[in-house]
Amino acid sequence: MSTPQDPNVREQPAVAATGSNRETILSTKGLTKKFGGLTAVDNVDFSVDEGELRCLIGPNGAGKSTLLELITGQLTPTDGEIYFDGTDLGELEPHERMDAGISVKFQSPHIYESLTVEQNLHVPLQRTSRDIEPVMERTLDRIALTEKADEPASDLSHGEKQRLEIGMAITLDPKFMILDEPVAGMSIDETGDIADLIQSLHDDGMTFLVVEHDMEFVRKISERVTVLSQGSILEQGPIEEIENDEQVRRIYLGENA
């Protein structure tokens, strides 16, 4: 994997202490995105430590997906900066951000429907591996699709498509993995499988940022949770604290503060 040779690499700014001695891998500063009259992301300072598994939760319309798309570069911020691994992402195109070590699984499965499972994996895999076969086998095994390697992706069930896309994203061996609703539309069993998969990758040292509504799932995987509401960060902390936080309860219940 090549690291970007951007001449404009700037020093990462000092970030507010997060209560952990790990290095910050991703941080945003004053990040803002407006759509016409609406402010979807409002002056957000946000950071994730290396090796962390962070969940991002919040009511509909809180700005979660917008925040992710700003990080991947699909959207351009109205204002503010994003730093990843010491690099200002502002000038980088989406594919350059991926080269820098970010990988993403979209909200709705984005796979190559007309290709087979193996071909799907081949596309990202050929970028990072010289010896494709062993990694292919390992990945297929990890996402439990070995049996279906030669089937067209369009024939997979929804859960299998979700797994395939996660598999495609991990073949890039990213430092930082973004998962947008990885268990949406999955059965309880499938959800458990995905949780195990994420846990094992996390144990291997991968950093995660996960947007998810399924709180059981969040409880299972997450260390720290960030709550987004109306485009701003409302609260951050361990899951138990968040669940018992009065303000968070109010936001979810919509009571007048």
Binding site: G36, P59, N60, E181, G185, M215, Y252, L253, G254, N256
Partner: protein, 232 residues
């Protein structure tokens, strides 16, 4: 019985979202469907409106089978729809947005007066592009747009979403009054406790695409009964 849903299964591209959903809404009632994000509330409302074809099950409205009919056929049967996320037509003016909401062929000026009575801000901004309104105003416009069609049944998708708490309060009151004044039946989906308690005569709780509970009468005002289905 105004609306009778039975055995409804629906989803997108083979992804099942709703599983065997059955419930009913009586004439003049206000019924809430409550549940967290991502449990299938919006999908349910879209399926009832005919924007999504169910895989199986039936939707009956005033005794007529609506399953499989296009959304515009639903609208012609006086079903009004307030989409999620204040989905107004952004580059149409407020007035033009309202005009689209008129039942095709009908042209009742008095309805505009009623609507402007409820939401005077919309009359002030009639010539302004809807996309330039604030979140709360867009929500009002979305409700007003459904009202000018003179609906007997109003389907409302999360009226509180992305709207400031103070405005949520007034929108809740407006919906209540609309039900009172015109006898409009209202079916809404929501995860905001104050809206649910302020509005619903009774509720169905939904989780993972299935109705898991029915909460009626005084039980609705008891926070404990609802929190289980709403809070993180």
């Amino acid at each position: 019985m105004t609306l009778e849903i039975s055995g409804l299964n629906a989803g997108y591209d083979g992804t099942p979202i709703l599983r065997d959903v059955s419930f009913n809404v009586g004439d003049g009632e206000i019924v809430g469907i409550v549940g967290r994000n991502g449990v299938g509330k919006t999908t349910l409302l879209k399926t009832i409106m005919g924007l999504l074809d169910p895989e199986s099950g039936s939707i009956q409205y005033n005794g007529e089978e609506l399953t499989g009919k296009a959304a515009n056929e639903h609208a012609r049967r006086s079903i009004g729809y307030v989409p999620q996320g204040r989905d107004v037509f952004p580059t149409l003016t407020v007035r033009e947005n309202l005009l689209v909401g008129e039942t095709v062929g009908g042209d009742d000026e008095t309805r505009y007066e009623q609507v402007y009575d409820y939401f005077p801000i919309l009359e002030e901004r009639a010539g302004q592009d809807a996309g330039t309104l604030s979140g709360g105003q867009q929500q009002m416009l979305a409700i007003a747009r459904a009202l000018v069609g003179g609906p007997d049944l109003l389907l409302v998708d999360e009226p509180s979403e992305g709207v400031q708490p103070s405005i949520v309060q007034s929108i809740t009151e407006d919906l209540e009054e609309i039900n009172d004044e015109f006898g409009t039946t209202i079916l809404f989906v929501e995860q905001n406790l104050s809206v649910i308690q302020g509005l619903a005569d009774r509720c169905y709780a939904i989780d993972r695409g299935t109705i898991v509970d029915e909460i009626t009468g005084d039980a609705v005002s008891d926070q404990e009964n609802l929190e289980e289905y709403l809070v993180v």
